[in-house]
Symmetry: C2
Subunit: 509 residues, 2 copies
Amino acid sequence: MTAVESYIELIRRTREAATLGSCASVLGWDERVYMPRAGSSFRGDQMALLAKMAHEMSIAPEVGEALAAVEGSDLVRDPETDAAVNVREIRRAYDRSVKLPKALVEELARVTTRAQQAWQEARQANDFPSFRPWLEKVVALKREEAQAVGFKEHPYDALLDEYEPGTTASEIKQVFAGLSAELVPLISAISESKRKPDKQILQRDFPVELQKVFGTSAAAAIGFDFSAGRLDVTTHPFCSGIGPGDCRITTRYNPRFFNESLFGILHEAGHGLYEQGLDPEHFGAPLGSYCSLGIHESQSRLWENQVGRGRPFWEHFFPRAQQIFVDALSGVKFDDFYFAINEVKPSFIRVEADEATYNLHIILRFELELGLMSGDLKPADLPGAWNEKFSRMFDLTPPDERQGFLQDIHWSMGGIGYFPTYTLGNLYAAQFMTQARRDLEGLEDDFRRGDFLRLKTWLNEKIHRPGRRWRANDLCKRITGKPLGHKALIHHLRDKYAMLYGTTTMITG
Amino acid sequence: MTAVESYIELIRRTREAATLGSCASVLGWDERVYMPRAGSSFRGDQMALLAKMAHEMSIAPEVGEALAAVEGSDLVRDPETDAAVNVREIRRAYDRSVKLPKALVEELARVTTRAQQAWQEARQANDFPSFRPWLEKVVALKREEAQAVGFKEHPYDALLDEYEPGTTASEIKQVFAGLSAELVPLISAISESKRKPDKQILQRDFPVELQKVFGTSAAAAIGFDFSAGRLDVTTHPFCSGIGPGDCRITTRYNPRFFNESLFGILHEAGHGLYEQGLDPEHFGAPLGSYCSLGIHESQSRLWENQVGRGRPFWEHFFPRAQQIFVDALSGVKFDDFYFAINEVKPSFIRVEADEATYNLHIILRFELELGLMSGDLKPADLPGAWNEKFSRMFDLTPPDERQGFLQDIHWSMGGIGYFPTYTLGNLYAAQFMTQARRDLEGLEDDFRRGDFLRLKTWLNEKIHRPGRRWRANDLCKRITGKPLGHKALIHHLRDKYAMLYGTTTMITG
């Protein structure tokens, strides 16, 4: 085979594996949205089979052979060509996969399936001891995984690399340290402010059917394409990019709380816009895949927070919300509504946290994960470490384990290294949005008219279409001229809360 | 490997192939129920990949080796044991699969995909010439398939064997001839009867939401388990048995016609009860699979027609329907309603036909298919042959091709041999129901109380749990003491219409 033939075969195999993975996406979506209760056990069999077959495809020796035949050929001499980019990233994924011993992969699958069950029960019963042996197993296996994959500085880097290719723990530490140094005093100032929003405004009757109409129209307004997507109801909302022409978002409706579904829909639609913006010609190949989880999250946070919790957005949508939710909102003043949806208040549950305190939840988890992976923190000591850190950072003590370190599913499913991508998303979102405002003059006037097309097109071009061409931080530098930092997010938060809470905090840069 | 080990491996492989097939079932259901429009092309890629992989699994040489290692061993000496039954049927399917050349399988997949598109367009435009070359290709390939599979008497037998294992064209010819000889005079007598139902009763406002409530409650009443199933909306209703604990039925609602969704739901729920009644321990293996399409259809027809269009059923449900559809039914008399839902009237469209004339539609198609497969009928001559036969049998001439030979999808998808299973279903249903009434005294009193449990349990035991243990006709003999015949269906129809239309036709046996 020539190098070109090998490359074609490589892409064919990569695409085939992605297509099989996309079948699992359909089944995963169905499981969480429509599957009848009694189908759960068999669905596990189906998912396990697809995972096994996809893994076999990803480590097939033919992939390694095709890679070897292409690498060093003229086809990839220029590292900027499509072929070179695809080969670089397929190599990266292949090396990672083949480094993992089959026994470890199977053991991880088995243990995390059972650990998730144990976690669910432990969480309901506030019973850490029953989960502890599973957490210990998971952590031990993840440390083994890190050893198998290899790392330069910290075992955490090996796990992070799966979600955030090329980013290291020490880079994150540095960015998080800068963020924390400015965020903590800002949150303190807000807590001490005499101004408080009237959150009751948002806790009235918001009929589910009307929320659906409003949320759907908001998602369509920002550009989510419903001819190539859906919105359904689930317990823990998610976005599933199945493949070209098919991306599905989900939400849950709380008939007595406005924020939950609307901001959730904007968040998932932001993920959905990324998926819908990927290049379908490159489906399955790195050039048609998302860059990193942090960049993916930047797209959801950008629409949810940077746009969706902004004044210009609501200058357009608030009158429309008042027309739809007549009983709840007709007598409400714009400023009161806007303040209410932007309340900052330290709380126990990460997924319910506001735009500012959310990041403290992540920093806490990141620090604990570093300890778990280095071995400095024993899983058995996690509850104490969590509560100690939480009290210090939030000035609150979790009343129980469910509202403490048992609240998230991530550790039980082996997702150590995943949490920081959420705050990376917030940071990237702020930095991208700052740049978008520079590139697109009068952007917020667009929003005031309910027009989000220029921003969506900018994101499509700058972030979605390149796929995995550049690593996250390189993408950030190309777009914003700077590596990822904490300044853009801090400026955004400081400006917003200065208006709302009258807070002024020291500007350090 | 010992014979036992080979058997375990054989079952493991069979089950794995079925599990992969069930993933395609989820995607197929999704495609017809929820998939966004733009996802269609990629869904084709997903389905093609799963079909290719499932086919590769089914013809794996390891299956042949395991079969050879088990056959002739003590494990299968007694042909009544579970192992012997499974091995017998896995051998049958394996031999059929390996006989088909890979090139033919791929060509059939390619041609039928495009032929279905051509059929859809030709049907809309009443344009047979554009479909004719595709029909010719399909028929030629199916004749090739019959040669590859092999047959004793008629090439049609080779195709029939896929849907109705062990049943031959000559057997069907004989049963259909008996049926036709008695059905045609009965339908004539009905046509000549002065009594006519007032069908307007059923063409009033039946709000979709209320139809959904009523249809769901009817499906639940006959025993469809909604904790292990769902009911959704689609264009061409179907039942999809995905796997243990997961079976999904679908319907379509016509807000101005009562019959369409209610009898459709009973029909699909009948299929669903069969799927839900299969032995989950044997999932994927022949003992956990349906016996034949004819037997599957017998379950849908039994609930739709034998039970659902019967007086006792409506003695329970009509007062309930009146409570739900107040505007449409409150002033309607029971006898008028019962007559209206049992109207017999020759018409052009098979899927809209009544319980009696439906079978003429099938007999017509069966006779044409025999000609196509023997070569006596050229695809080009199909329109003429259809219209000639139709006029003779129905005393009506199709006004166009859409209401004539272009109405069904089956031929474009290569489903020659499928049609007769619909009338086999009607025949089996009548024969089973006659036996059930003998075995279960006072059964119709159960129905009058809205209690269908004894019948469901009888079907579970006699038909569902045995899976593919016996061939269809052997199952019929075991349950009813007789091979399949036309008498039970004719008696059922004659009794019903004697009451409604006052018809008396000569009893020939």
